[in-house]
């Protein structure tokens, strides 16, 4: 517990605390750009400089550990002048088109420049490499705005284990990007958008498709449906200054109606549908393995997260047979909207325009996959991120915080609480268990308040075991079986988990005695609530607040299990007949493609 003096204030901090954290704990406001708590401390931007008595030069406080007896100045003339010069240098190579930048108003560089009182750039000069990469459906990278803080490099390489981008070239010509300055589409980028989520400026963002949505709304020939993913409702409020974790489900529905969508539906509906299909798939595989003694790929991996799917296709093609064939809830929605619902309202699929609002950039990519044309046309026409929706609400002149609550439309609008928790890590697993356990035993899942606590929270890899006892007759073969489950969020954690499974005692994943039976993987840290399309900046505190909101939403629902959703029951009765049936197979399931690693 070193004790140190920061600007005449003496404090004690934990061993290994950086000066930056120490100062922030002591209540000092320290500007920084490259630093990202728990993610990156590399001392590259030099904005958080402090004067340490006895040190020859100023020290980057994010990487300087606090030592006993240190005397530190955060606000000396030397520090102020140096910080200012450093930020001016960054600005001198920055595009600076703030008025037309999508980060206008929530840009960290803007804030730092404002706080330091920068009014002119003392050392203007030439600009480094300018290059705009629009090669992927999900992301747009613009090096003209990049300040080389490297947060994106660290998240992509360390958190996600993808390493699609890194520093290229040297000196002033340094540029962040894929190897050999290729386009993102030419490398293993999974389009998760975690880079965009941590970018302090407007250098990486989603491919903005709001104009297409306005055009569709304005087109009288189109019936425009909107679906909103469960993670949106716990984060959209942040676009309007509401604190993280504010639930805005009702306001969101009202806003969407005001914007002019013909029907406001819920992706939760197809999340429940997913549980029906995926739960059945799990049970079918278990039965094949345990009763029929057939070789069957286990553990079963969830498939809702398109970044994870692309990651597996690139990095672990050998486990593709283990991944559930269920489409993601977004794509199931598109498929049933343009078939089941279209028939109901007597429209042709091509006259229906499906917009989905997702916390995710990879969803933009997913909706363009060639497999996603089950209705004969593209099932989901446009995917908006939470941030884009926030922008559209502003453009629509809607006073979001003061809106009254609205209700989702029927018949694709009903949702169980189980669907809500798809939004966070462990949620799909918990939702599946709520249904599967009840199908198998006829009893409710024996966890407090239906929450599978061991798989909740922000630990990277979580696991649990559920012993099945008192089965109904049809599932008697599962009597006494301990179902082992694991949950990973963040692709880096997923990789650890997969490597663990691959190197486990039971090397053959088809072996029923494998370590796990069912594994949930979500691409982004924290799950969809921490998605690459969510309002910035997503820290662990923000993640926890959003997760808490989601659980609150779940707990507030009268129906908390997918198989109890009446509209789900209805679609099976009226249209799909049964899970894994022929229609389901055509509309709700998909296939995967092994891809090259580079």
């Amino acid at each position: 517990m070193p004790s140190l003096t920061i600007d005449h204030k003496t404090i004690s901090v934990a061993d290994g605390t950086s000066l930056l954290e120490a100062a922030r704990q002591a209540g000092f406001h320290v500007p920084s750009l490259c630093y990202l708590k728990k993610v990156q401390a590399i001392g590259s931007c030099r904005v958080c400089l402090m004067e340490v008595e006895g040190a020859k030069t100023l020290m980057a406080s994010c990487v300087t550990p606090a030592f006993e007896g240190m005397k530190v100045h955060t606000n000396s003339a030397r520090v102020r002048a140096a910080r200012k010069t450093v930020v001016e240098l960054i600005l001198s190579d920055h595009e600076g088109d703030c008025q037309t930048c999508d980060r206008n108003g929530d840009c960290e560089l803007q804030t730092v420049a404002r706080d330091l009182g920068i009014r002119e750039i003392t050392y203007p000069g030439s600009k480094s490499i300018r290059r705009k990469d629009t090669s992927t459906p999900a992301l747009v990278r613009n090096t003209a705005k990049c300040i080389l803080c490297r947060r994106c490099v660290t998240v992509c390489g360390n958190t996600q284990g993808v390493a699609a981008i890194f520093p290229q070239k040297r000196g002033f010509q340094s540029v962040i990007g894929p190897a050999f300055t290729s386009d993102l589409s030419e490398v293993v980028c999974v389009q998760c958008g975690q880079c965009a989520a941590v970018c302090p400026v407007g250098a990486i963002g989603e491919n903005d498709e709001t104009a297409k949505v306005w055009a569709a709304i304005d087109d009288p020939k189109k019936t425009v449906l909107v679906q909103t993913a469960p993670a949106i409702r716990a984060a959209l409020g942040e676009c309007f200054g509401l604190p993280p974790g504010t639930l805005v489900t009702g306001k969101m529905v009202t806003a969407l109606r005001l914007m002019g969508f013909d029907k406001v539906f819920d992706t939760n509906f197809t999340a429940d549908l997913t549980i029906m299909e995926e739960g059945t798939e799990l049970l079918t595989r278990l039965k094949k393995a345990l009763v029929d003694k057939q070789p069957v790929p286990l553990p079963l991996f969830t498939s809702c997260s398109p970044g994870w799917i692309r990651y597996a296709e690139h990095f672990y093609p050998e486990i593709l047979p283990n991944i559930s064939t269920c489409k993601s809830p977004q794509q199931m929605f598109g498929a049933v909207a343009k078939t089941y619902y279209a028939e109901k309202i007597g429209k042709k699929p091509e006259d229906i325009f499906v917009v989905s609002v997702m916390p995710c950039t990879a969803k933009k990519y997913e909706s363009q996959r060639p497999e996603m044309y089950a209705s004969g046309v593209r099932d989901v026409d446009v995917v908006l991120t939470t941030r884009e929706l926030g922008r559209m609400i502003r453009q629509g002149g809607i006073d979001f915080p003061n809106l009254p609550d609205g209700k989702m439309d029927s018949v694709l609008g009903a949702s169980s609480g189980a669907a809500d928790i798809f939004a966070n890590t462990g949620g799909v697993m918990e939702a599946a268990l709520r249904t599967v356990y009840e199908i198998v035993t006829g009893r409710q899942l024996p966890f407090d308040n239906l929450h599978v606590a061991p798989v909740a929270g922000l630990a990277g890899v979580k696991e649990a075991a559920v012993k099945i006892e008192g089965t109904v007759r049809e599932w008697a073969f599962l009597e006494g079986v301990t179902v082992k489950i694991a949950v990973a969020h963040g692709l880096g954690n997923a990789r650890h988990l997969i490597e663990k499974i691959k190197s486990g005692e039971q090397k053959n994943p088809r072996d029923t005695a494998a370590q796990y039976h069912f594994v949930e993987v979500m691409t982004c840290p924290g799950g969809c609530i921490g998605g690459g399309g969510q309002p910035r900046l997503t820290t662990d505190e923000v993640r926890m607040a959003r997760i808490a909101a989601i659980y609150k939403e779940d707990e507030g629902k009268p129906i908390r299990k997918s198989h109890s959703n009446p509209e789900v029951t209805a679609i099976y009765e009226e249209y799909l007949k049964k899970p894994l049936g022929e229609k389901s197979h055509h509309l709700l399931h998909t296939r995967y493609t092994a891809r090259e690693r580079v």
Binding site: S44, R46, L49, T57, T64, T122, G125, Q173
Partner: protein
């Protein structure tokens, strides 16, 4: 090894290999075999010997004769003459005894004599590929001693006591570094050698690797033992293939003999080495970046702490030293810490290797005891500057270092002293620069290097160095802005204070140091768009024109002469310098010293061409004049009709004014008429050119003495709106000795003035002239012509330091003037109230003074007496401010001359301008002419506001030039002088060339002014 009669050591360091050492070696072996000498003469291929620019070099032992610049064909001669017949091949020898053709032995050559070789002890002596030869030179003895007699703490203590500091640049105590690493927690530790050597020009590490690789292996094994490490890495750049090859072989040999590997020499210490090659990124010389690179990642530095001693390679405690540091270790262990610490200074012990490069005669690798004077290193070991050039600065420490100007030549080369002057020891790159180096350009060069080599991780280095470079770029291109110097200093200081690693923290050093010591050059680039070194292309139309203080379009008038368009040539000359005929005789032609032709053969003889040109003048063609009635009515005055005053009046007249010149003497011309003897400048020529100026409407009133006949105040009262003071520096500075007033003792300026104005002056029988400048030579030659029995010029330094023009000194000597160098008068001996003799004191040369010359130091033991009935003192001139400034107090500069704005000559009173010797102290005719022009433009701006100055826009001449043609060959013709036998009176010594010689000479011009 069998003993042989004679050994031929052929340097096969990288430099010599590149210039053909391997071919030489083969030829040498063949030549020896051919003569049947292979039994008695052996050829060895060794590492680097040091004098790399002279390569390939070879030494023949036991005679110790060093041969240089050898071609394979020379092997025959050396074998036949030296090896067979025992006769030294003198013309191939590296250095001869001064004044003779006798070759100097290795131990006598100054380049080697002052060196102390510890790190390079084996380089050039042993075959690096033979471990036996290393062992024969006590190799691996230190390792044996360490393993058998010393505990690890004892080893560290020995290194600590030796005072050895990191030779990579930072100079951290090696012993403490080892100790920290030993103390660090961890079972696995690494011993790393930094052989990345990235400083441009530094190659001592490469030389050790190529010439003595076992010394590194031995040292690293010792270090491993001391810190408890069993694995070492040598990180060497892939650009050093020969070093990698030889080190690889050496590691194999050491392994074969159990000197690397498990249980070395039967001890418990196990150690092995691996080579890791880097791709040559400069930043990988930074320790954390180097380790990151060994780990297989992009070579980028990481923040410290944690320091590598605790968390280094793969986060394990790691010891990193550079090659040179390690290479000193075996000697320290064997000979002891106190032996090593006996060399050097209080805080910097031992020796340091420098890569001596640039404008010195001897370039190459040298190892010297730390603390040697910089001047000693440059002038004794380096052999001084190349022909005719003067020392300007030494750049030490490469891109992280700085420059040391000539007034600090006495600085001891040690860590602290260099830092104090804004340079660093660095890895030992030392580039000597002469006046042809532009300090702005050189600082831009180094900055461009680090800017390119920045890893791009931290903002200050990535963007900041770029911004500094951009500022320097614009300064060099003539687009510099007011405040740019301050911007460079501010930004540079911030980068130093904020960058992440050593590269960034030192990147601004070369710029900051250049500004610190050569600020004026930056100012000139920005304010005057002038690059005095003639380097920056955008500021230099042609180097000759750039070197001319008046900016005369030299290539223009030369090419016009070549086309026989003499009137146009002369008119072009007089655009910038009216006194063409005068300058064709007396100008010291700085243009010629910058002539680019000299890189091909000899500089163009520009002054002689000018002489030929003025001879062709039939009648004056008046220059372009501005007719301006208003200007003509304004009262402007010039005080002093010397070159500055005449020039100012000429240019004022061209701007439409009708200036009046007030001249104190009876005749106009100033020093031209009063000091310069007629045999150099015939008086009719002088009068004719002054007459031309009068024709432009300039009125000259002689015998009007400022302070006596009129004052600045009275001029103001008379209605003069602006005045140019060009009163010269008419007062001799005096010897400051007792008896100076005695008859027979006079000032050179008075002596010359009296003769030149009155036609007679008393001349002694034995005349002693004291001084080394032009006035001394003029007085001596005048005295000789007036019948002096003997004339001796006594100068306290040597001929090389004389400020007088070399041609004049040579002619004086030819005419019979005697010279007494390294002597100064100390006492005047009188007889009957008259001077009879002068007691002289012998002088030696000591430390360096502010001018970069060695100071004369008196040797009281060497006094001698010279009979002299006349002593002419020529030791400087001064202004007489009190006599001339009446009622108006003008600010003086630090040399007690009138302080003026260098751009326009304006003095501290806004209506008063000054120039020539009165403002700059004794200066040349051409500098005075330039000062007159500046002041004329300045006065015009003051009176009328700045208008267009027609002569200041440069225009291309329409002469023919074929840029694709090869340069016309031909040699520089000599001056045409009348023979000494005919130089009795004051007839002009030099005559003009014939047309044939002159026209041929014009063709040698390379037309540097040509731009497509």
């Amino acid at each position: 090894m069998s003993r042989s009669r004679c050994n031929v050591l052929i340097c096969t360091g990288g430099g010599c290999v590149a210039s053909g050492a391997l071919e030489l070696s083969a030829a040498m072996r063949a030549a020896i075999q051919e003569r049947g000498l292979d039994g008695e003469v052996q050829v060895f291929e060794t590492g680097c010997l040091g004098p790399c620019a002279a390569g390939p070099v070879a030494v023949v032992h036991p005679d110790g004769i060093l041969y240089q610049n050898l071609k394979p064909a020379d092997a025959e001669r050396i074998a036949e003459e030296h090896l067979l017949k025992g006769r030294v091949v003198k013309d191939l020898a590296y250095e001869k005894r001064p004044g003779s053709m006798e070759a100097l032995g290795l131990r006598e050559i100054p380049f080697f004599r002052k060196q102390v070789k510890i790190v390079l002890r084996n380089c050039g002596l042993i075959d690096p590929l033979k471990i036996e030869e290393y062992i024969a030179r006590d190799g691996y003895m230190a390792l044996a001693k360490v393993l058998t007699e010393m505990s690890p703490p004892q080893v560290i203590e020995e290194v600590k006591m030796s005072g050895l500091r990191g030779r990579g640049g930072a100079g951290f105590s090696t012993g403490i570094k080892w100790w920290l690493c030993r103390e660090a927690h961890g079972t696995e530790k690494f011993t790393i050698c930094n052989a990345d050597e990235g400083d441009p020009g530094a190659f001592m590490d490469r030389s050790v690797l190529e010439g003595d690789p076992h010394s590194l292996i031995e040292a690293m094994t010792i270090a491993g033992y001391a810190i408890g490490s069993s694995q070492g890495y040598v990180y060497v750049r892939a650009e050093y293939p020969l070093a990698v090859e030889r080190l690889t072989r050496a590691i194999e040999h050491a392994r074969e003999r159990g000197l690397l590997g498990k249980n070395i020499m039967g001890s418990t210490h196990s150690f092995d080495l691996e080579i890791r090659m880097g791709s040559g990124a400069f930043v990988c010389g930074e320790e954390t970046a180097l380790m990151t690179s060994i780990e297989g990642n992009r070579g980028e530095p990481r923040p410290r702490p944690p320091f590598p001693a605790f968390k280094g390679l793969w986060n394990k405690p790691s010891l990193l030293n550079n090659v040179e540091t390690y290479a000193a270790i075996p000697s320290i262990i064997l000979k002891g810490a106190s032996w090593y610490a006996s060399m050097g200074t209080a805080k910097s012990k031992g020796t340091k290797v420098f890569a001596l490069a640039g404008a010195v005669k001897n370039t190459g690798l040298v190892e010297i005891p730390i603390g040697m004077q910089l001047g000693e290193l440059v002038f004794d070991i380096g052999g001084g500057m190349r022909e005719g050039k003067t020392f300007k600065a030494a750049q030490i420490g490469g891109p992280s270092g700085g420059c040391i100007p000539r007034h600090h030549l006495n600085v001891p080369v040690d860590y602290e002293s260099l830092v104090e002057l804004g340079a660093i020891m660095g890895s030992g790159g030392l580039i000597v620069m002469d006046e042809d180096t532009c300090m702005v350009d050189i600082s831009r060069f180094f900055l461009e290097f680090v800017q390119d080599e920045s890893c791009g991780k931290c903002t200050p280095c990535r963007v900041g160095t770029r911004r500094m470079l951009e500022i320097l770029d614009r300064i060099c291109e003539g687009r510099g802005q007011e405040g740019d110097i301050e911007r460079l200093v501010d930004l540079g200081s911030t980068i130093k204070d904020t960058a992440l690693c050593g590269l960034g923290q030192t990147a601004p050093n070369p710029v900051l140091s250049a500004i610190r010591h050569f600020r004026e050059e930056f100012v000139e680039h920005i304010r005057d768009h002038k690059c005095r070194a003639g380097v920056c292309p955008e500021l230099v139309r042609a180097p000759c024109q750039n070197a001319c203080p008046a900016g005369v379009d030299v290539p223009g008038f030369v090419s016009l002469i070549g086309e026989k368009r003499f009137d146009e040539a002369l008119a072009l000359h007089r655009e910038r310098n009216p006194l063409a005929a005068i300058c064709s005789r007396v100008c010291f032609h700085p243009c010629e010293s910058k002539c680019r032709r000299s890189t091909l053969d000899d500089p163009l003889s520009i002054r002689s061409l000018k002489r030929y040109m003025v001879e062709q003048e039939k009648e004056f063609n008046l220059p372009e004049m501005i007719k301006d009635g208003a200007n003509a009515k304004r009262k402007v005055a010039v005080v002093g009709a010397g070159p500055a005053g005449l020039s100012c009046a000429y240019f004022l007249a061209r701007l439409g004014y009708r200036p009046t010149i007030f001249e104190a003497a009876s005749e106009p011309g100033g020093m031209l008429v009063q000091a310069i003897p007629a045999y150099r400048l015939p008086r009719d020529i002088l009068r004719r050119e002054i007459g031309m100026i009068e024709k432009l409407g300039v009125q000259i009133r002689t015998n009007k003495v400022l302070g006596r006949d009129f004052t600045l105040t009275s001029m103001k009262e008379m209605g003069y709106e602006a005045v140019f003071l060009a009163v010269g520096a008419p007062k001799g500075a005096g010897l400051g000795m007792q008896g100076e007033e005695a008859p027979g003792v006079t000032e050179a300026i008075d002596f010359l003035r009296q003769y030149n104005l009155t036609g007679k002056v008393p001349v002694g029988k034995n005349v002693l002239v004291v001084g080394g400048g032009n006035a001394a030579i003029d007085a001596a030659r005048t005295a000789l012509r007036l019948g002096a029995g003997s004339v001796t010029v006594a100068y306290r330094r040597t001929r090389a330091e004389m400020p007088a023009y070399r041609e004049e000194v040579e002619e004086a000597e030819r005419e019979g003037v005697k010279f007494q160098f390294l002597a100064a008068p100390v006492e005047l001996e009188q007889e009957k109230g008259k001077l009879a003799a002068v007691k002289m004191r012998r002088m030696g040369l000591g430390d360096f003074d502010r001018s970069g010359r060695r100071k004369p130091v008196a040797d009281p033991q060497g006094d001698f007496t010279m009979p002299a009935d006349q002593l002419i003192a020529a030791v400087g001139q001064a202004l007489k401010p009190n006599e001339i400034f009446d009622g108006v107090s003008l600010k003086l500069n630090d040399r007690e001359f009138i302080a003026v704005n260098p751009v326009n000559g304006q003095a501290s009173e806004e209506w008063v301008f000054a120039g020539g010797d009165a403002a700059s102290g004794p200066s040349s005719v051409i500098e005075s002419i330039a000062a007159g022009e500046k002041a004329a433009v300045g006065m015009h701006a003051f009176l009328a506001g700045m208008g267009e100055i027609p002569w200041r826009t440069s225009r291309m001449v329409d002469t023919f030039f074929d840029p694709d043609a090869d340069p016309v060959m031909g040699t520089r013709p000599g001056l045409k002088l009348i023979p000494v036998s005919r130089r009795k009176g004051f007839a002009e010594v030099e005559t003009a060339w014939s047309a044939g010689v002159a026209l041929a000479e014009t063709k040698r011009c390379l037309r540097c002014d040509y731009r497509e």
